[in-house]
């Protein structure tokens, strides 16, 4: 029972977190990752790993990634020293067999400084097809400079990636319902208010009458002065 309710709460939480963004027909995808590390050969991509997402609605994923070899790490450091781009090619395979290729890049230096911790954002369109895959790193805010001292000491070789799926959200429609409700509510309140408001004439409008009376008095007083 406890487990059940916690599951429910997770579902509710995720519902809340992603707005009304849910696919009508859930589906699965696999993503094949290749990256380009050699600055001299920008069109050469080597295999990095693959991701499988069994359910796009749940957003859970399993990632299998190769560790970098020493030469690859070195060439990435060269790329970082040139302030070059770490480019990654992602091939998305759908259940119906079709494939789509995506490209994303980040600064090689920031990948190094983040110790190969990166986040892969998979954006989906309303029908569950991938629109774009973006890689980004959460940088330690202090190290922003990409000097050779900073990069040379990095020996980490294995990627540790998070996959975040972003659904398209449903657009709002003009909220006529709640406005009419509010209008009705206020009208009722007013009607009720009018029934209850059975104070006397003076009790209700004293704030208008008093200034007028005062004015009359003052003008009368000045007139008398003038008459004298």
């Amino acid at each position: 029972m406890y487990l059940k309710s916690s599951c429910l709460s997770i579902v509710l939480l995720s519902l809340f977190a992603s707005g009304w963004s849910f696919l009508e027909h859930d589906s699965w995808i696999t993503i094949d990752l290749h990256h380009s590390l050699t600055p001299a050969r920008p069109e050469h991509f080597s295999h990095r790993g693959n991701i499988s997402i069994p359910s796009l609605n749940s957003g859970l994923s399993t990632i299998v990634q190769n560790a970098l070899t020493d030469t690859e790490l070195e060439s990435l450091k060269v790329l970082a020293s040139q302030n070059g781009f770490y480019r990654m090619r992602a091939t998305v395979a759908y259940p119906n067999g079709s494939k789509q290729r995506f490209l994303t890049s980040s600064k090689a230096c920031s990948l190094l400084l983040a110790q190969f911790n990166d986040v892969l954002w998979v954006s989906l369109d309303p029908n569950g097809y991938v629109t774009g895959i973006t890689t980004s790193q959460d940088l330690a805010p202090k190290i922003t400079e990409c000097s050779s001292e900073n990069t040379q000491q990095i020996n980490e070789k294995s990627f540790s990636s998070d996959v975040i799926i972003r659904h398209a959200e449903l657009a709002p429609v003009p909220d006529t319902g709640s406005f009419i409700q509010k209008f009705e509510r206020e009208r009722e309140a007013r009607e009720r208010g009018e029934v209850r408001d059975n104070r006397g004439f003076f009790a209700k409008y004293w704030m208008y009458i008093v200034p007028v009376v005062l004015l009359v008095f003052i003008s009368g007083a000045t007139n008398q002065d003038a008459a004298k």
Binding site: T104, W121, D125, A168, A171, P172
Partner: protein, 912 residues
Amino acid sequence: MDFLQSSAGTLISLSLLLLLSTCSGLYEDQIKKFDWRSVHVGSLKHAYVDLNHFQPRVLLSTHEQVVGSLCPKTGEIIWRQVLEQKPRGDIKLLQVSGFADDSSDTAAAPMGSHLGFDMMTVQGHAPALVRGWNTNIGTIEWEWSIMPLNTERAQDAVWFYSNSLLYHVVPAWRSHIEVTAYFATSGHTTGSTSKIMAAWINPESCLLSGTFYICLDGKQLISLDLVAKSTQVIATSLGAEPSSNIQDLPGLNGGLIVDKKLISVNKDQAICSDLTSDSYIVGSFNNRKVIAYADLINSILNINAVYLDDCSPVPELHLSVAFAEHYGTPSLRSFDCKSKRNSDGKNCLFLFTTTAESIVAVQQGRVRWSREESLANVIDTQFLDLPLADTEGTLENEMRGKAGDIATAFMRRITTQALQIKSLFLHVIGLGPPPTDTQRAGLVRDSFGLHKMLVLLTRTGKIFGIDNIAGKQHWKLYLPNVAGFENAEQMRLIVQRSSKHFPLQPLCAIVAKSVDTGNGVLFRFNPITGHAAEGGLLQLNYKIKQLALLSETEDDYVKGILILDGANQVHVEPKHATPLAHGMYLYTADLKTAELEGYFVKYAGGELSSLPIWNVRLGGHNSEQQIISVASKNPIEHVHSQGRVLGDRSVLYKYINPNLVAFVTQAPDATHKTVLNMYLIDVVSGSVIFSMTHRKVRAPLHIVHSENWLAYSYFNDKVRRTEITTIELYEGSAQANNSVWSSLQAPSMPLVERQSYIIPTIVEAMRETITERGITNKHVLIGTASGGIVEMSWHLLDPRRPISSTTQGREEGAIPYIPELPLPTENYINYNQTVARLRNIYTAPSGLESTCLVVATGLDIFVTRVAPSKTFDLLKEDFDYILISIVLVVLTSGSLIVRHLASRKLLKQAWK
């Protein structure tokens, strides 16, 4: 504050009150003070000059679905009727009484009776509307319509008028022709539709000339008289296969123009086949039919004419006129002659239309008047500061002097002042330098920067320099053989150097595609004088795929143009700005496949290269989604306020990403009819920041994207109304980096506020106001289908408008949510000066922070200025200077006198 909750009525009145306080209506005496409108008809389709009518007139119909009447003396519009949009309003036939091909004309019937007509138009195909017009005042007298059975086939239908009957000719390509005759004024058919077998008709090379249906078939013309009793096909052989399309010769039954020569397929119709000319027209002179023809040779327009019956020249009609280059190539459309009042000669008016879409009237050996109808299709505008007066210019120069050395600065000051004194002295004794052309034309910058040069680029490639206050056209330029790009992308007008860099002249560039080669074309010119600059026209040897503007160069302050060509190579124009392209990011978007690609531009070792770094596919599975709109922010925009103060005095920081671009795609959907997707994409990193989908919603879509917000209008198919959705992006209560923005290290998930509103009108254009520093409130200018422009405060479109009036919302100054946006008449900035076929609104900052310059284009052009937060930095026009100076003088003199008296009194007291 209690009354706020009391009733909805007071709530509405409160919001109206708030609204009134933000809008700036116009007073009656301000009409046409800050604005002007120019009215157009569009490029000529049919025209008839009629000088012998009791009221001389030029009757015309245009490609912009307009019928109208011009004054033959001045070219002013007597009346104009803007008909329905295409395809419904497409004018197929304009028949004016007295201009029928044959002498028997129903129009001879008495006016007012249902048998005659003054002018008749046929428009559209399904349904086809036939209308009879009163040509004196431009009203519809009668109308009838037919709905063809086969609407697809009816698209190619042609109409002709003969013997009081109107014939509807529907071709079924390579099969037969269906001809139906109707009584022109009543719409009754005369009988059944006749089907004529004609396997020789094809969609490429057929036309109608008078009553003859003619097709080109290799070296011969095959024709058929549609009103003749026999359906005998006539074959006319040509010497050789014509190199260009065949054209009909209006006014001559069976006459047509083949390779600049005249040919008649009608055996009964003689024609002068020896003539060679670019344009012909048939008219009458001395009660004989004549053929007039006109050719442009070395900027001289020669008009000649021959009598049709014996081909002898008509010397009275010969004319030679100097023809300005900016009109383009003319083609003769109509002419008419009228006896002079006192002498026996005749006075003829020739009407031309040109490739630059001008209407030119030639009379008595000169261009009598001309109308610039290309202005009905403005595709880009720029406001440019006018040059400084000389004295101010030198001062400006001095202020900018880089030398920090006191001695040199002092010397410079002394010399400039000496020069100023000298020029003043010379000016006083009348020996000053003559004012420059621009100064003589009154084109000198005013102190508030409100007076600017408005440069308009039109679809035909004609460029205009117009004074934005007076509306006077100072210069015109025509670029022949240029067109817009692929992907439905228009030509661009780019400011490469603004007027700030005195004594360097401002520089503008037109980027277009060459019609002949398909390669890019660059044309540089001085936007103040309209003269070509930096070599003028430059033919590039590559196709243009994308372009971007670089920052200013150090030495000549020119902003280079970065061009991505068809083979993904990058180029910079001018060449010396190439190093500045290093580190630029570019993106391309294919409308059809909805694929975006991002590139990084690198400059290393004197070579520019581009590296693809990201791609995004918005097309869905089978690329059924197509991009219908791309909206980026105005690059000159300044965001003054970084955040928004909430009710609890905390700050909600805006997500201001200059690289954010909105893409909208649309596709048919099985379950939801049509689906509209909106994506916000960072075009540097290629990440999809936000995406949202609308169901049962479709184009027309209009979008504005500015600061941290987005507003777009669309048509909701489910409830059949136009709606506006607004979005605001916030970073949250803390800013990630408040000094520099980097898309590669950006906060990835902004907070998105969103709301939808109903707008009770059809939106045709939207644009945000822009001011110099961005301190003034932003308003959204909404152009409506009726030609009005509404100034809508952002407070009303704000997605944070609270549904229930909470104290927090009130503290924030947000108006409670009402689903329908109000459109009060005092918010129409163009009061009764409606802009027909409003297509676009452009805004530009003026020198005053409070004021924004606006130009609305469509068939008409409307130029005005708006002050979203009212003119807080300007004294009112009726400010009483005299009173304030009197008060000042009296106060100072009074205080002086009193002080004097007081000191005297003190002195006297001291003596006592």
